[in-house]
């Protein structure tokens, strides 16, 4: 009873304070249709605490973990929650395939492997100090709250270990971080927070994904209809819904076809699919074409039509990487060359001694294929034919016959990278370290692989080569405004169809039976010819004069 009186008093005061017509509209409770508003990338909306006023955050702080302790003093359960998520564990076991995935273990076809190189790579671990296997994953004060939550833009991370002197110079001379100011600035993560790592995957801006670049920090609506600062200004977490520091949306296990849609109001906060907001019939049925478009949802991922091109907005992505040319030096030192100017005017490296050659591209038309959401990784444990022409880092399955599959857009990444020629496996390369084997600084691939494999007790034949690898990146960001979406004729066309290579389906306009068309054309042409001949004979018949006579 007391609780209900309290609630009533609360409602009354709310009504009185807000006043006017609006108050009557919201009486006695807010309408059920008032859906949760998506998280925008900006100052906290409707929060109840101002972190700049917290005693605990006055500082001074001498290290990141000290800030974390202050955070956890109030957010008592957050450490436990956080340590379960992939930003912390870098580990994921696919429940369907049983494959051990996660950045901690995987090999990609960019910088190849984080494993053994954590001193460098774990700059993007949401924690402090992971430089080798001794890192304590159970110490919650090692969590880095700031990298995701600070909003001053002055916070940065440096490698967790020194590395070769040739490399560590890159990180020298940065201004000191005012940890107290940074700690007081915390908000819900903005695009720039997530982007600090996710826009720079693969070792540089947009190198890896193609659809995630620094252009999305403050994108115009034309680059991304959801994130546009002149539009909805969504934060990443508007779609990557978060519950207890676990995020929706996974590249290891993609929801290729959401069959549930929005659910009831307030539901569906567990997926990052388009359908979870837009529903299963996303196009308003005000025309026949829209009716057909809603049908297409069964076969075509939203992204296929609504992301006509990726690596837009002026930032290029790497589409081809060649490790075979890595290791060239000038006067015994590594160097790099700029050879590509992207649309925003920035120069990009096309050669680095530490990594080899890169090929860039932008405004790319994706590859399209049936995709059931299941990625099959070539891991360090996978054996393959060493003579193979190429290896798929993450192959995927999907077909027209599979009910979960839809046609998805992909970025195709192609790389020549080191592998164990004798055993037919990929290799862990020891890139980062203070020792003489670390490739970055010493440029000895044989020694780097030898150590990279030995450090983890892996079987290595001692004979390495380079193999062509391909990785596939489902494209899902940089959703263009609807007026830029693909038109029907972009796919339903006899030549130049976007889906020219997609098999297993008959597509009107793209497909036809050649023989039927030939026979049909001959038939119609034959009829016309017959008519012509018949008419000519009539015309020249001697008794033509009476042929048209009325009886």
């Amino acid at each position: 009873m007391r609780a209900s009186i309290g609630a009533l008093a609360c409602l009354l005061s709310t009504a009185l304070l807000s006043g006017g017509v609006h108050a009557r509209d919201n009486w006695p409770t807010p309408p059920a249709t008032d859906l949760q508003r998506p998280q925008v990338s900006g100052p906290l909306q409707g929060g109840t605490a101002d972190h700049t006023k917290f005693e605990e955050l006055r500082g001074p702080f001498s290290s990141g973990p000290e800030v974390t302790k202050a955070c956890l003093d109030c957010h008592t359960e957050t450490g436990g929650h956080f340590m379960r998520n992939i930003h912390w564990t870098w580990s994921y076991t696919n429940p369907d395939t049983g494959q051990q995935l996660g950045k901690r273990y995987l090999i990609n076809n960019f910088c190849t492997n984080a494993r053994g190189n954590e001193g460098m790579c774990a700059q993007c671990h949401a924690g402090y100090g992971w430089k080798d296997e001794s890192f304590d994953f159970s110490d919650e004060t090692n969590i880095d709250c700031l990298v995701c939550h600070e909003t001053t833009g002055t916070y940065y991370k440096t490698p967790n270990s020194l590395g070769s002197p040739a490399c560590s110079v890159m990180f020298e001379g940065k201004p000191p971080i005012d940890l107290a100011a940074v700690a007081q600035s915390v908000e819900l993560p903005q695009r720039a927070n997530c982007g600090a790592c996710h826009f720079n995957g693969g070792g540089g801006d947009n190198v890896k994904h193609g659809d995630l670049s620094s252009a999305l920090k403050s994108p115009p609506r034309t680059l991304d209809v959801h994130m546009g600062v002149d539009g909805l200004n969504f934060a990443c977490t508007a779609c990557h819904i978060t519950n207890r520091h676990v995020w929706a949306g996974s590249r290891y296990r993609v929801v290729s076809k959401d069959t549930e849609g929005t659910g009831k109001p307030g539901q569906r906060t567990d997926v990052a699919t388009c359908e979870s907001c837009h529903g299963l019939a996303p196009h308003p049925v005000d025309s026949l074409a829209r009716f057909k478009l809603n049908d297409h949802v069964q076969s075509i991922a939203c992204q296929t039509c609504h992301i006509p091109e990726f690596a837009r907005g002026g930032v290029a992505t790497v589409v081809d990487w060649d490790w075979r040319t890595a290791g060239r030096t000038r006067n015994g030192e590594g160097y790099h060359e700029e050879g590509y100017i992207q649309a925003n005017g920035d120069h990009r490296y096309t050669y680095k001694s530490i990594k080899g050659n890169f090929t860039y591209d932008e405004n790319l038309v994706p590859r399209y294929a049936w995709f059931d959401g299941q990625m099959l990784y070539t891991t360090i444990d996978t054996r393959f034919d060493p003579q193979a022409e190429s290896i798929e880092i993450n192959g995927f399955t999907g077909s027209r016959e599979d009910a979960r599959s839809r046609i998805w857009p992909f970025k195709r990444m192609q790389t020549w990278q080191p592998y164990d020629k004798g055993n037919g496996t990929l290799v862990y390369t020891h890139l980062w370290g203070e020792d003489d084997a670390a490739y970055w600084g010493n440029y000895d691939m044989a020694a780097a692989i030898e150590k990279g494999m030995a450090d983890f007790g892996l079987d290595y034949s001692g004979d390495y080569g380079f193999i062509q690898t391909i990785s596939w990146w489902p494209i899902t960001h940089m959703v263009a405004p609807k007026e830029q979406a693909l038109a029907c004729g972009d796919c339903h066309a006899p030549t130049g169809s976007r889906l020219a290579s997609v098999e297993g389906v008959y597509m009107p306009g793209r497909d036809h039976n050649r023989w039927l068309d030939i026979i049909g054309t001959l038939l119609v042409a034959g009829i016309l010819g017959g008519i012509l001949i018949h008419g000519l004979i009539r015309f020249f018949s001697p008794k033509n004069a009476s042929a048209g006579e009325h009886h």
């Binding site: 057909k292 038109a487 009107p508 793209r510 036809h512 008794k543 004069a545």
Partner: protein, 217 residues
């Protein structure tokens, strides 16, 4: 027996014929566009026009079937061999000699045997083939999860296309036929005014003069 000008095509029949002509014209143009033979329309516009015309035609056909059976006009289309040979001989030989068309329209038999058979085949074979496959095609997404749906769609699309070619062929012959026997205009006018020369028995004439004087001139 005497020849009279009699109303053999009612207002509905004429409306049916010309609306059907217009819709088939739209369907043929947009359909072959969708098939990739030309690019007069965008795919989306072609689909919209094609589907709208197809649904309109189905509605028209629903009325026409009702009309055919309630007015007993379906009997005009009962196939018969009687007189067929004469008509075939005329089109392949006699016409060049300037012979008269052997067929005389009767009040309850307004099409010659070849015509009746051609129209009947159109009604019971080609049209059903194209609208049944057309509907299946349009509602593909309602049955796409059935086994072998892709193969079925492939077959349906081929039947649809084949029927379209045959209907186009029919249209050409149909129009050409207007130039034979009578003049083009004489063939065309009945479908506009409704009146044509028909052989009437004295009983038919008496009936019309008494009960439907407006239908006989």
């Amino acid at each position: 027996m005497a020849t009279h000008r009699v109303k053999i095509f009612s207002l509905f029949e004429r409306f049916w014929h010309w609306t059907q002509m217009l819709l088939i014209f739209v369907l043929v143009i947009t359909g072959f566009g969708l098939h990739g033979f030309h690019h007069v329309f965008s795919f989306q516009d072609a689909v919209t026009l094609h589907t709208a015309a197809a649904l309109s035609l189905l509605l028209l056909w629903a009325f026409s079937v009702f009309w055919l059976f309630t007015t007993r006009s379906w009997r005009h289309f009962i196939p018969t061999a009687s007189g067929m040979w004469g008509v075939l001989r005329f089109y392949s030989y006699g016409i060049f000699k300037g012979e008269r068309h052997p067929y005389r329209k009767a009040y309850w038999r307004k099409h010659n045997p070849l015509q009746a058979l051609a129209y009947l085949m159109l009604k019971i074979v080609l049209f059903p083939a194209i609208w049944v496959t057309g509907l299946a095609y349009m509602f593909y997404f309602a049955w796409r999860d059935m086994p072998h749906a892709t193969q079925w769609l492939n077959g349906i699309a081929e039947v649809h296309t084949a029927a379209a070619f045959l209907i186009l062929a029919f249209v050409f012959i149909h129009v050409y036929m207007l130039t034979t026997g009578h003049s083009f205009r004489d063939h065309l006018m009945p479908m506009i005014t409704g009146f044509d020369e028909v052989d009437l028995s004295p009983e038919e004439e008496a009936y019309l003069r008494t009960d439907q004087p407006a239908d006989i001139r």
